[in-house]
């Protein structure tokens, strides 16, 4: 089985978000970049398939040279090879078209992406990719087993979960649940050393449409101060929620 894990290079979850150049760009100043958490759960599941079922695992990122430390981290975790498509990921459809080209050239059986990146939250790359390639697709995937060409997946739905049966080739949009938080791996020194020797192939982008464009960003409006209620007078909170906030 040949697996491709698609990773985004995103600001660490603790990052404060600011904008620059007249609020048209995300301010990367002082921001630590990491593998998108939803992708990292998928990468860790791919490592399980590698170790238990002999799968080969490649990772791919669409981004400029500045994303290479994040790609190297994925190699240090245990991916065999990496590909970087040398283009800024401006729009989900654009990224999906780039990935489709990589998949066509690599003949992958299973493509694991995150359900969304935590920066632009488009949540469309895996679904568009699957459709462009006419592959099966399961989104918000929280469990995945592969047996030959048969795949059994669990999908999170609003208010529960759904068990799904399908077949390879398959694209999934993954999230926490594919593996547990405690299964995530911190690269060790040996992994980091080996990662330096692994192939990181840079390919140029193909011509592709970009149907959406972020023109301007803004931060949420500043909040007023909290209204404190004394712990000995809890009834006042009920009053405020009813009469002032009008939410009960």
């Amino acid at each position: 089985m040949k697996i491709l894990v698609c990773i985004s290079n995103v600001p660490d979850t603790t990052s404060k978000i600011n904008f620059t150049e007249g609020d048209t760009q995300f301010d990367t100043n002082g921001v630590q970049f990491v593998i998108n958490p939803n992708d990292e759960f998928g990468l860790t599941r791919a490592m399980w398939f590698k170790e238990k079922q002999g799968a080969t695992v490649h990772v791919v990122n669409v981004g400029g040279a500045q994303t290479e430390p994040t790609i190297r981290k994925a190699l240090a975790i245990g991916a065999d090879e990496a590909i970087r498509v040398n283009a800024e990921p401006k729009d989900g459809f654009f990224v999906a078209q780039q990935l489709a080209e990589v998949v066509k050239n690599g003949e992958y059986d299973l493509i694991i992406a995150g359900r969304e990146s935590i920066d632009y939250n488009g949540g469309m790359v895996p679904g568009i990719l699957a459709t462009l390639l006419d592959m099966n697709f399961v989104n918000t995937c929280i469990g995945l087993e592969i047996d030959g060409d048969t795949a059994t997946a669990t999908r999170e739905i609003d208010g529960g979960k759904e068990k799904i049966s399908t077949s390879l080739p398959l694209v999934i949009g993954g999230q926490k649940g594919l593996v547990e938080e405690s299964d995530l791996r911190i690269p060790n020194m040996r992994g980091i050393m080996m990662a330096r020797k692994k192939a990181l192939n840079v390919v140029e982008p193909v011509e592709a449409a970009q149907p959406t464009q972020d023109q301007k960003f803004e931060k949420p409006a500043a909040k007023g101060p909290v209204k404190l209620v004394d712990a000995g007078n809890v009834g006042e909170l009920v009053e405020l929620l009813h009469n002032e906030a009008k939410v009960i």
Binding site: A96, M124, T140, D158, K176, T212, V226
Partner: protein, 322 residues
């Protein structure tokens, strides 16, 4: 040239997000000088969509589509869009809509923007406001493609009544064999309880509650309020509560009218995930907890004393107000 809207239903009943999506579609149709056509799947009361501004309902009655199937539903919507000449398609931000929308986007070579929180800024060029950076910011996004797909956030634009009378037509599209290549085997859905996705009120517990055995009062508070229960990331990571309850940047977003956080300090990732909630209440014994800076109302105190007291007061309030 009508605006097309996907109206979700469960066991024949339209969901609240169907009415929100229809209301949004009506606003867009007004801006564009056209009308709204809805697509429904095995719903019982199609004409009720008129209340929210739908002029025409394409009703799909097909037993093979009784359970949601993203690819098949996308094929139906693509066919409906072509039949109607629709250039704008509105969906919700539910798990089902977010599963289906990218498939539809690729089929129609459309531009898709999810998490949209307000009526379009303009329709020429077509610009919408959406959340980005997991609710730590907003983006004004232009869609330049011929076909535009918009995923409306829950509890943002809201519902608007526009009472018109809706005509209902049967719609029987042809589906490809591959439409059923991803099969639903079993659906395990909580019944009779509010879910985080569509609850008006969410009650959430954190590490301050000290252990899973102390969740009884969280559930009782949720019961009194008709609320969904949720938790912080550490609580789900430690296995005190299921992952499905984890709200925050890497968990579920919450956009309820009221969010009550008990024993949650308010890490930046948690606050991002619940930022879209309208009114936030925090109960925490540490007055320095960051959540107090993000909340509208707060009580500094021991949750094990405050919460039972709050339950009592709410029961008294309910007794007086029903």
């Amino acid at each position: 040239m009508s605006v097309l809207v996907y109206t979700e239903s469960l066991k024949g009943k339209f969901k609240k997000n169907a009415f929100e999506a229809a209301s949004y579609a009506h606003k867009v149709a007004q801006d564009l000088g056209t009308t709204v056509t809805a697509v429904s799947f095995n719903a019982e009361d199609d004409a009720s969509l008129g209340t929210y501004g739908v002029s025409k309902v394409l009703r799909v009655s097909d037993g093979s589509l009784a359970t949601f199937n993203a690819k098949a539903y996308a094929e139906v919507l693509a066919e409906a869009a072509k039949a109607e000449g629709a250039k704008v398609i509105i969906l919700s931000s539910s798990a089902d809509s977010k599963f289906l929308a990218p498939i539809l986007t690729a089929k129609l070579t459309a531009g898709y923007v999810p998490n949209v929180v307000a009526a379009p800024e303009s329709t020429s060029p077509f610009v919408v406001k959406r959340t980005a950076f997991s609710n730590k910011g907003f983006a004004m996004t232009e869609i330049s493609s011929d076909v535009k797909i918009i995923g409306v956030s829950s509890n943002a634009f809201g519902v608007a009544e526009n009472n018109i009378s809706a005509s209902v037509e049967d719609f029987g599209p042809s589906l490809s064999d591959k439409a059923f290549a991803v099969k639903s085997v079993e659906v395990d859905r909580v019944v009779g309880k509010a879910t985080i996705a569509d609850a008006d009120i969410v009650v959430s517990g954190g590490r301050g509650l000290k252990g899973p055995e102390n969740w009884g009062m969280v559930e009782e508070l949720a019961d009194v309020l008709g609320a969904a229960t949720a938790c912080s990331k550490p609580v789900s990571d430690m296995g005190w509560r299921p992952h499905s309850e984890h709200v925050g940047q890497t968990g579920k977003p919450v956009a309820s009218n009221l969010y009550i956080a008990i024993g949650i300090s308010g890490a930046i990732q948690h606050l991002a995930g619940i930022n879209a909630s309208k009114v936030k209440v925090v109960i925490n014994n540490d007055p320095e907890a960051p959540f107090f800076k993000a909340a509208d109302y707060g009580i500094v105190g021991d949750a094990f004393e405050v919460v039972p007291e709050l339950i009592e007061k709410l029961k008294e309030f309910k007794a007086q107000n029903t």
